[in-house]
């Protein structure tokens, strides 16, 4: 247990407004250095030397980049750039790079947004992608409230992609995350034994218990009728407060 980290992303730090008190690579524990980490990731995914790589490798890199972009439906592209190219207030703290997004709906010439301007959901998507796809991310990592700021459908889609990304690029890496958003668990393919869901709750003595939601035949039958999100909301999976 030497190579692990627990992340708690924070919107202001993801934007680069505030410095990360726990800087690290590829990203800080609170989400600092996101633009630099995306730059490194995109270089790895997209900048293959034609002589040193196969078409299959180049296609796989493009597929992963496309996977990320599909989760930000308004963005035509994401491209980290050096901070000096952008008009930013001197009061804005900045790293060496800023994220530049191209908005597909805005007019050419006025369709560039930086990480300081975009909706925070896009930043959380990139943050999760970096942790799953960057070789320098720890072998065991945890993210507190991965679903922050995400639309329910986006949260489901992002959760689906996490397993795909990990299996594609880092099959030995283990990701633990907490969520309070039912839509997230609809994205878990629990038919795959490597993907596991645990209900964390307190018993009548106040002790915290952690129980794996096993796809038993009974649960399987229920799930034919109800998505996991509804089963959770109805209390059938546990992990709901007594309110």
């Amino acid at each position: 247990m030497q190579d692990y980290a627990i992340y708690s992303p924070n919107t202001r730090i993801l934007r680069g407004d505030d410095p990360d008190p726990e800087p690290s690579r590829p990203v800080g524990l609170f989400g600092g250095r996101l633009a630099d980490a995306m730059d490194e990731l995109m270089s790895r995914l997209l900048d293959h030397d034609p002589k040193e790589s196969t078409q299959e490798q180049r296609d796989a890199g493009e597929d992963l980049y496309d996977d990320i972009l599909e989760l930000i439906d308004w963005a035509e592209s994401v491209a980290p750039e050096t901070a000096t190219r952008h008009l930013l207030s001197p009061s804005v703290s900045r790293g060496s790079r800023v994220l530049r997004f191209t908005d597909r709906y805005m007019a050419d010439g006025r369709n560039q947004l930086t990480g300081y301007d975009v909706n925070e959901g896009a930043l959380y998507v990139l943050f999760a992608a970096v942790l799953c796809l960057s070789p320098s991310a720890p072998g065991l990592l945890a993210v507190d409230n991965l679903d922050q700021a995400l639309n329910p459908r986006s949260a489901t889609r992002l959760t689906e992609r996490l397993a795909v990304w990990l299996k594609a690029e880092s099959p030995d890496r283990q990701l633990l995350f907490t969520t309070h958003n039912p839509a997230v668990i609809d994205g878990l393919n629990l038919a795959d034994d490597q993907i596991r869901l645990f209900a964390v709750e307190r018993n009548t003595s106040g002790h915290t218990r952690c129980e794996r939601i096993v796809p038993t035949p009974e649960l399987l039958a229920l799930n034919r009728e109800y998505p996991l999100s509804r089963l959770w909301l109805m209390g059938n999976l546990g992990a709901v407060p007594n309110v």
């Binding site: 296609d59 796989a60 493009e62 597929d63 496309d66 996977d67 972009l69 599909e70 035509e76 597909r104 489901t156 889609r157 959760t159 689906e160 397993a163 795909v164 609809d186 994205g187 878990l188 393919n189 629990l190 038919a191 796809p215 649960l219 399987l220 799930n223 034919r224 009728e225 109800y226 998505p227 996991l228 509804r230």
Partner: protein, 266 residues
């Protein structure tokens, strides 16, 4: 003309992108487009061999699952379904690619296979319609199957069925510039290799697909690259693709029914 709300049930995100581009061509003004999807039930069961890693119901199986959810024992029109009352779409579009006529229910997840057995309806009506060309018989057979998925709920005048042949890729191909270099053999709507032909195009015209295991799947961003062209070249697409003409005609009829008028009749 006031802004319309159009709900779309499409096989894939990429299909949704193309359909939205065609709607922009046909219906003037801003549109509110909703993508309707079934709830992701049955995710605890292992998927079929060709499934994408996504948990949500995918492709035509997802459309099938959506239809089962909206089927009502008491019948009535689909657009009057209580689930649609919150968003109140003016129009509803149901999409399937015509090549689904050759598919099998066993491609879907187990839950769907079981439902299909109870329904007794198959995408490819037995005996199968003659293969494309002509375009119409398999598309018509598929439309009958699509209606059977909803039956006894009926498809009302504000619901439009969209069945590109063999797949929506033919509409992308029909919109390409003359010098695109695409090699189409025979009828553009009957070419089963259209995705591969689009993928082989040069530069930014290429519509690449992503590989998942041994299968290739559509990338929505690749179709989005062509969205503006599809809108601009819609009349040309209609000239070349009979199913696009049919979609256009049916959509105009639905808009007329709403009493709004003003849709493009080019």
């Amino acid at each position: 003309m006031s802004s319309l709300t159009i709900a779309v049930v499409a096989e894939e995100q990429a299909d949704q992108v193309v359909i939205e581009a065609t709607l922009t061509a046909m219906v003037p003004g801003d549109l509110r487009v909703l993508r309707l999807q079934p709830e992701p039930t049955g995710q605890l069961e292992a998927g079929p061999a060709n499934a994408t890693p996504e948990v949500r119901p995918q492709g035509w199986c997802g459309v099938f699952e959506w239809c089962l959810k909206y089927r009502r024992g008491e019948g009535g029109d689909l657009e009057d379904h209580p689930l649609l009352t919150a968003s109140r779409p003016d129009l509803l579009i149901l999409h399937l690619d015509a090549d689904v006529a050759d598919a099998k229910y066993t491609y879907c997840r187990k839950k769907i296979v079981a439902e299909a057995a109870a329904l007794g309806a198959l995408p490819c009506v037995d005996p199968c319609p003659p293969p494309c060309p002509p375009v119409q018989p398999p598309a018509d057979a598929l439309e009958i199957v699509l209606r059977s998925w909803l039956s006894p709920t009926a498809i009302g005048p504000c619901t439009v069925i969209c069945i590109p042949s063999k797949a929506i890729d033919s509409w992308v191909a029909a919109a390409l510039p003359d010098d695109s270099g695409i090699k189409i053999e025979g009828d553009i709507e009957c070419d089963p290799d259209m995705p591969a032909r689009l993928e082989a195009l040069r530069g930014k015209l290429a519509v690449k697909r992503k590989r998942v295991g041994q299968y290739k799947h559509k990338r929505s961003s690749e179709y989005r690259k062509h969205a503006t062209r599809i809108t601009a070249e819609w009349s040309r697409i209609c000239e070349r693709c009979s199913q696009a003409r049919r979609f256009h005609k049916d959509l105009l009829s639905a808009v007329e029914y709403l009493g709004l008028g003003g849709a493009s009749s080019r």
